[in-house]
Amino acid sequence: MNIINIENIAKIYEVGTEKVHALRDVSVKIDKNEYVAIMGPSGSGKSTLMNIVGCLDTPTQGLYDFAGENVSQMNDNELARIRNKQIGFVFQTFNLLPRSDALHNVELPLIYAGLSKALRRERAEEALENVGLQDRIHHKPNELSGGQRQRVAIARALVTKPSIILADEPTGNLDSKTGEDIMTLFDNIHSQGNTIILVTHEEYIAEHAERIVRLKDGLINQDEKVRKRIRKTSAQMESN
C-alpha cells in the first residue's frame, strides 16, 4: 500500500519573467516503512520535492496523493493539519525555537495538535528519552551541541507519531562521526516501523537507506534498491 503516490508533478518558479523548472516531471511511489534516500547535484530539485512530499508546498502541476488524500487540491489549513499529524520534519539547520528549551521545542507540534499540557509533557519527555536526551530536556538550543540539537529536532519530528519522517540533509551541518550517530538513530527509527525519506549528498549516508532516488535537473534520473548490507542493530548501538 503506497503512502505516497506522486504522478507527473512539476514545480515552476517564476523569477521576474523567467520560469525556473525546479521539478519538471516527477513520478514516484513510496510504501509504508520504506527507507528512501534522495540524491542529486545541487539545484536538482531535492528540497523542492521534499517540501512537496512534506506538504509545505504544493506542486504547480501533477497529482500528489498522501495516504489516500489528494494533497494537491488542499488549502493552507488542511495542509497544516496533515503536516501536524502525519509528517515529521528534520532539517539541515535543525530549526529549533532558540528561546525555548528542548522540552518545549518537542512539545510544540502537540500544542498545535491541541493536546493537554500533562499529555504533551509526558509524550515530549518520552520522545526525548528515545533520542537519548533525557538529561538535557531543559537546555536551550544554544546550550546543546549540533548533534544534540538534531536529536531534539528528531524527537520533535517523532513526537506526534507521524506516518512519515522527512529529513533534508539531516547530517549536512554535522561532522561525520556525529552524522553517523544520527544515521544510526534514523536506522533505529526505521526498524521500529517508520517510513523515512532523507536527502543527502553523501553516498555513505545514502547507503543507510533501502532505496536511492537520484534527481537531475528536476527529473528522476535513477531509482534503485540498495544492495543488501549488514546494518548496525540497535543492540550494537547501545554497546557503542
Binding site: 509545505l56 489549513n77 497544516a80 493539519r81 503536516r83 501536524n84 498545535y112
Partner: protein
Amino acid sequence: MLKILFDFKEGIIISLKAIKANKLRSFLTTIGIFIGIVAVTTMSTAIVGLEEAFKESLSAVGSDVLFIDKFEWFGQKDWRYYRNRKNITYDQYEALVEKYHKAAAIAPVERTFGRTVKYKEKSAQSTMIYGTNEQFEKTNGSIPQTGRYMTDIEVKASRRVCIIGSDIAELLFENEEAIGKEVKIDGVPLRVIGVFEKKGSGFLGMPSEDGQIVMPLKVFNRIFGTRRRVQIAVKVADVNKMEEAREEITEVMRIIRKVPPGKEADFSINQQDAIMDAYNATIGVVATAGIVITILSLFVGAIGIMNIMFVSVTERTREIGIRKAIGAKTWSILTQFLSEAAFICLIGGVLGVIASYFLSLVISKLLPTSMPVSIVVLSLFISVLVGLLSGFLPAYKASKMDPVEALRYE
C-alpha cells in the same frame, strides 16, 4: 470557543517569552498607549469627580425649585435686555402668594455679596447675605446644625436675628458658642439664632453656603436698602408637575406684572436644570478635548505598536516558518501575534491606570476626583482593543507567510 481560548492562552505564553526577550523595546513601544490611557483615565476621573461635586452642591437646593427673576440664567439675549426689565418687587411676591396656592414654599429673596460681619474685634469678610422669609429654609435647603431657623413671627416682626454659615461661625466664635451672641453688619446688631451645617467648599468658586448669612427680608432692607431686585423662589409641591407649575406661575405673574396678552413676559422662570445644562456644555468641551488628546495619543501608540509588530514579525520569520512546518494553522499564528500586541498594550494600559491613580491623588488637592472601577475596566478594554486593531495587519502578514519561504529566510 474553547479552541479560541486555548489558542489565546498559548498565544499569550508565547508572547510573554517574546516580550521578556525584548523588555526595553516592548516598554518603549507601549509608551504611546500609556499616555493615551493616562489621558483618558485622568480625564474621566476628573469629569466624574466634577460631576459628583457639582450634583452634591446642587442637590441641596433641589431641582423642584423655580426661581422667578428678571434675569434669565444663561439667557440667549444680551444681558442689558434683561437688566432693562422692571425689578420684581416685594408687592409682586405678596400678590403671588395670594394668587398661587399650590406651592410647597415661596420665599422672596434679596441678596448682597462681599459684606463684612463683625463679632467683637473679629470679622468675617466676603459673606453672602440673604434677606428672605422663613420658607427659604425649604426652597434653599440649608438646614441649621445648631440652634434653629427663623420663624414666621420673627420675619413678620422684623426681628434682628440671623442664621450664619459654619465658616463664619468658626471664624468669629472659634470654640465659643455662637447661638445667642450678637454680630454686627454695617453697625446693625443681629442675634445669632442658628448655625448652618457644614457643606464644604463651593463648586468651582461658587460662593459656599458655609459663608452665608440669612436674615428677615425687612431687616435686610433696613440695613442695605430696598432698591435691590427681589427673586422669588417657589418650591413646587409635586416634582412631576414642574412644567404645569411653571405655566401656572407664568400666567399668574403675567397678570401681576400686567403683561398684555401676546407680548413677551418681562420676567424669567429659572430652574437648576439650566445650571446643569450649562455645566454639561462646559463638561462637554472638557471631555471633547480629553477625547481628542486620548485618540491622538492612542493613535500614535497604535502606529508604534503596528510598526514594532511588523519588525517583530519580520525578525521572527524563521520562527513562523518552523511553527507552520510542524502544523500551526493560519489562525494559531494570527492569535499568537494578536495576543502579543494586545498584551503589550495591556501592560501599557495597566501602567497607565496606575499612573493616573497617583495623578488623581495629586489632582484631588485642587479638584474633586474619583476613579470608578468602570473607568479602569474601560481603559484596560481600550488598551486591549488598540492592541488587537494595531496588531492585526502584522499578525495577518505573519499568518499568511509561505512556510517554505519563511524557513529559507536568513
